[in-house]
């Protein structure tokens, strides 16, 4: 890989990271919020590396016998000195023959080209956040058990809850406090392949990055499903079944009202619904 290309690659990667983390919230589609400072620092560092490499180039063209590169062999440096300034159609191919051990140390191997993919993706064609497709294929996240004590539910009606909390109340709270209560949940729509007239209100939760995405689902009864990936808030009451407070109780909801909402900025959390009361 020629040096101008290396500079381009470093600068593009740096810009891509900065674009995703500093100027926009794109990074929230892929990793958690806490990564932001690290990503900004990485972007700045890559930009600096690229600028330093570009800035060092003129010094090298003055004479091939005064190599700037701290490592590499004399022969390789001269090879690169010529190849870098003149046309070098073979890229590192010539250096391969020349080096004799099949691995040139002063140029970057071709595998580095792959780094253009994430850089350009972040800059121009960022893939969307995970949604209904992933959620429909994943088994629902098991809600952590072991909570013995449940506080009484606040008297607010409808009561805003997270999907995790709702599931826990239904399946673990022995007092059955959720029975008959009107609750307010938000999430996105995942179609239910098996059921008729039911769909899943879903949240995808990350522990580190989108590769370990897990979903929390509450099955919604009583209203037709909106298109997949639509963000909605649902008001309703627990759909009776099984024994409330045990694992036999389904985390289901009879919906009374479904309203479209904006996608939250950080979609990969199971936050309390921030829906203004009207």
């Amino acid at each position: 890989m020629r040096r101008p290309l290396q500079v381009t690659l470093l600068v593009l990667s740096g810009l891509g990271l900065l674009h995703a983390s500093l100027f926009t919230d794109l990074f929230l589609r892929y990793v958690k919020e806490g990564m932001r400072p690290l990503l900004i620092a990485s972007g700045v560092l890559l930009l600096l590396l690229g600028v330093a490499e570009a800035w060092a180039t003129p010094a090298k063209t003055h004479g091939a016998d005064h190599p700037e590169r701290g490592h590499g062999h004399e022969g390789d440096v001269r090879e690169l000195g010529r190849g870098g300034d003149a046309q070098d159609p073979g890229d590192e191919g010539g250096a391969h023959d020349h080096g004799g051990h099949g691995h040139d140390h002063s140029t970057v191997p071709r595998v580095a080209w792959l780094l253009f993919l994430p850089a350009l993706s972040l800059l121009f064609y960022a893939p969307p956040a995970l949604g209904a497709y992933t959620a429909s294929r994943e088994a629902p996240k098991a809600v952590a058990s072991g909570q013995r004590h449940f506080d009484p539910l606040p008297a607010t009606s409808p009561l805003p809850m997270t999907l995790t909390d709702f599931t826990r109340r239904v399946q673990q709270d022995p007092s059955g406090a959720v029975r008959g209560r009107s609750v307010l949940l938000t999430g996105f729509v995942t179609p239910d392949k098996g059921g008729r007239d039911t769909w899943y209100l879903t949240r995808i939760i990350l522990s580190c990055c989108a590769a370990d995405a897990q979903s929390v689902k509450v099955r919604i009864h009583g209203t037709p499903a909106l298109p997949a990936n639509t963000w909605v808030s649902v008001t309703g009451a627990w759909h009776p079944g099984g024994t409330l407070g045990t694992a036999s109780a389904p985390a289901d909801l009879d919906a009374r009202a479904v309203r479209r909402i904006e996608r939250p900025i950080n979609g990969y959390t199971d936050d309390l619904p921030l829906v203004p009361s009207r």
Partner: protein, 350 residues
């Protein structure tokens, strides 16, 4: 009917044969180093999973392809800061740290240096992407490879960040943290000693690149050049590994897990394989392990011990840094040793 098909098939296959062997010969022509078509192979390996997913994706409205891209980019973005940390550290070790520092810090007997280096992994707060370039620069600075490999294996698993994450993921279960620490250290030391016994220098690609500081050259330039080279190199392999991990992530639904959770022995092997295929960052794998509730604690421990030591993106990084001959042998041996160690340690502690 069958016979005619075979007969018809045979002439068709024969003309293809010479071309095939010619291609093979051309590929093997440069006897030393890697075959000339290695970059093409690499590209094929990188593009093929994507292409397959793309075709499948067309079939299911492109959602699979989008999910694949998201997961692939997520793994890359998550790992990039840690890879930068590792390559910066490796560049700094190369340019600023004299070789005699390490010979003074580590016991001169290699058999003793291995466990010391394993415990020293505590100081590198990062995930596994950071440890590969650092181990490489340690070797080039005169550290015995066995000790460097013990460090390479233990660093991502035993540092405070990862252990804290494990404690948070398994609340009220400190035995899991201790078991993870112990099993990882034992595996790292065992692999170091195994390398002392059976390792061959020739499996390692010669690390001529790291020459250390040379008189008459600016240390800063050396640092910058080494940093840049290592980052571009390892970064390419990181993307490759991320693509492979994303392919498995998208094509194998998590619901397959339930089929294996019943049998205790199968579940240990299955979660070990899952750790390799999913390539979850070592700082997060405890949370993933905690969510695999259908599995025994022993199987989940194996997941957390194998994951930071062997996974797809790590194998790609090692192949790029140390050579394929090394990566294949080392990863296979490490997987076996890690499963054995976590089974024994887990059997005692959990």
């Amino acid at each position: 009917m069958q016979k005619t098909e075979v007969l018809a098939g045979e002439p068709g296959a024969t003309p293809a044969d010479p071309a095939h062997s010619a291609a093979a010969r051309a590929g093997e022509a440069p006897a030393h180093g890697w075959p000339r078509f290695w970059p093409a192979l690499l590209l094929g390996a990188a593009v093929l999973p994507g292409a397959v997913v793309f075709v499948v994706g067309r079939w299911s409205d492109g959602q699979a392809f989008q999910a694949w891209r998201t997961v692939c980019l997520a793994v890359t973005v998550q790992a990039l800061p840690f890879l930068l940390l590792g390559t910066a550290l490796s560049g700094a070790i190369n340019a600023f740290v004299p070789a005699h520092v390490f010979s003074r810090l580590l016991p001169s007997r290699a058999a003793l240096a291995v466990p010391v280096a394993g415990v020293a992994g505590v100081v590198l707060p990062g995930c596994e992407c950071a440890s590969v370039p650092v181990a490489n620069s340690l070797i080039s600075r005169g550290v015995t490879p066995a000790a460097a490999f013990a460090f390479l294996l233990s660093a991502p698993a035993v540092n405070p960040v990862v252990l804290t994450a494990t404690a948070i993921a398994f609340p009220g279960n400190p035995a899991m943290v201790w078991a993870r620490l112990l099993a990882s250290l034992v595996t790292a030391a065992a692999m170091g000693w195994l390398w002392l016994l059976f390792g061959r220098e020739k499996w390692l690609r010669p690390t001529v690149r790291h020459t250390g500081h040379r008189p008459g050259h600016s240390r800063w330039t050396e640092f910058r050049q080494g940093f840049q080279h290592d980052f571009l190199h390892a970064g390419g392999f990181l993307v490759l590994g991320a693509m492979a991990a994303a392919t498995f992530n998208v094509t194998v639904p998590r619901t397959v897990l339930d089929a294996f959770s019943g049998s205790p022995w199968l579940s240990v092997l299955f979660l070990a394989a899952l750790a390799v295929l999913l390539a979850v960052c070592s700082e997060a794998d405890a949370f993933v392990a905690a969510s695999l509730t259908g599995f025994s604690p022993l199987a989940r421990l194996t997941f957390m011990v194998v994951g930071p030591m062997v996974d797809l993106k790590l194998i790609a990084l090692q192949a790029g840094t140390f050579g394929r001959a090394f990566a294949a042998r080392f990863s296979a041996a490490t997987a076996v040793v890690a499963i054995l160690c976590s089974t024994i340690v887990g059997g005692i502690l959990l």
